[in-house]
């Protein structure tokens, strides 16, 4: 999977490294700001009320 992505990034090693870092940052941001905030309230780790 990662090998396939690497082969399909444009340019030489420098360009590919920059592209890979941009992709990584985008994925981490998506997880931190969209996916995790959505998932977290649905997990039963932090129920603090009696009901």
């Amino acid at each position: 999977m990662y090998g396939w992505i690497w082969r399909h990034l444009p340019g030489g090693t420098a360009s590919r490294t920059v592209c890979a870092l941009v992709l990584l940052t985008a994925v981490v941001a998506l997880l931190l700001f969209v996916v995790f905030p959505w998932v977290e309230p649905r997990l039963p780790f932090d129920d603090v009320t009696v009901d």
């Binding site: 990662y2 997880l31 995790f36 977290e40 780790f45 932090d46 129920d47 603090v48 009696v50 009901d51």
Partner: protein
């Protein structure tokens, strides 16, 4: 570095190469079997899943703290402005769901422990700060003023709640008053414990008289609930306190009651 005969190619370039292997392409990646490709892909997916889970743990424990701390600063500023612009409104009678309406101070949890509390105990409120159970008493009233707060993450307001000792002050600041509650002693005549660990369904801990569902209020109590043990939602840690004295006006005590500076 010039060869005497003027040939600039390296020596090994002049050695005749081996004849090409039939069918092999020099620049193509080595061909792998289907199973090998699948196994490599599965391995990469598993490692990725592990990294994502680690990232989630970091998010839940640290990143939410930062977000909540920012929100608490905003709420605190808004509440101060609101209080300063309309002094002397009298007792709180009704607040809307989601409104910030009081400030909780617990010296045992830190000299400068201050949390703005909001009305309601849905995740939307609890992610911003401790929440006040709707339909429980308001600060200072007869009955039980009950708050829930996160133990780990979201600012971790009640992380150290198990450190509370009998007699510890829990101070609630409202628009114009201070209320000092004190954690109940083990041998309190009411029979209500200062701290207990209960099932998540133990609704009676926030009833007007704690642990006596359906009974009339028998005093002015305060109850804090959070999850227990840490990182788990199996049980609830509950702390009960009772109002010590009456309301202290903020006009008379602009810097708060002495209980805020009790050094134990």
């Amino acid at each position: 570095m010039t060869d005497p005969d003027g040939d600039r190619t390296q020596r090994w370039d002049r050695v005749p190469g081996l004849p090409p292997v039939p069918g092999a392409r020099a620049d193509a990646p080595p061909r792998r079997g289907l199973w090998r490709t699948l196994a490599l892909g599965a391995g990469e997916l598993l490692v990725t899943a592990g990294v994502v889970l680690l990232l989630f743990a970091v998010y839940a424990v640290f990143v939410t703290d930062v977000v909540t701390a920012q929100r608490q600063d905003e709420l605190s500023e808004q509440l101060r402005e609101e209080w300063d612009s309309a002094p002397g409104r009298g007792a709180i009678t009704r607040v809307e769901l989601g409104d910030a309406f009081a400030v909780l101070r617990i010296p045992r949890l830190g000299e400068d422990y201050t949390r703005v509390v909001l009305e309601g105990t849905e995740e939307e409120q609890l992610s911003q700060g401790p929440g006040h159970y709707t339909d429980t008493a308001m600060p200072g009233e007869e009955g039980n003023v009950a708050f829930a707060g996160h133990r780990v993450g979201k600012g971790s307001p009640f992380l150290q709640l198990d450190a509370m000792r009998p007699g510890d002050p829990v101070v609630v600041e409202t628009a114009d008053s201070w209320f000092v509650y004190r954690v109940l002693a083990e041998d309190d005549p009411s029979g209500i414990p200062g701290m207990q660990i209960v099932r998540p369904t133990a609704l009676e801990v926030i009833s007007p008289t704690p642990n006596a569902a359906g009974a009339a209020p028998s005093g002015a109590y305060l109850t804090l609930t959070t999850c227990h043990p840490r990182y788990s939602a199996r049980q609830r840690l509950v702390v009960h306190a009772r109002l010590d004295g009456g309301a202290l006006s903020k006009a008379q005590y602009p810097d708060g009651p002495d209980a805020l500076h009790e050094n134990r």
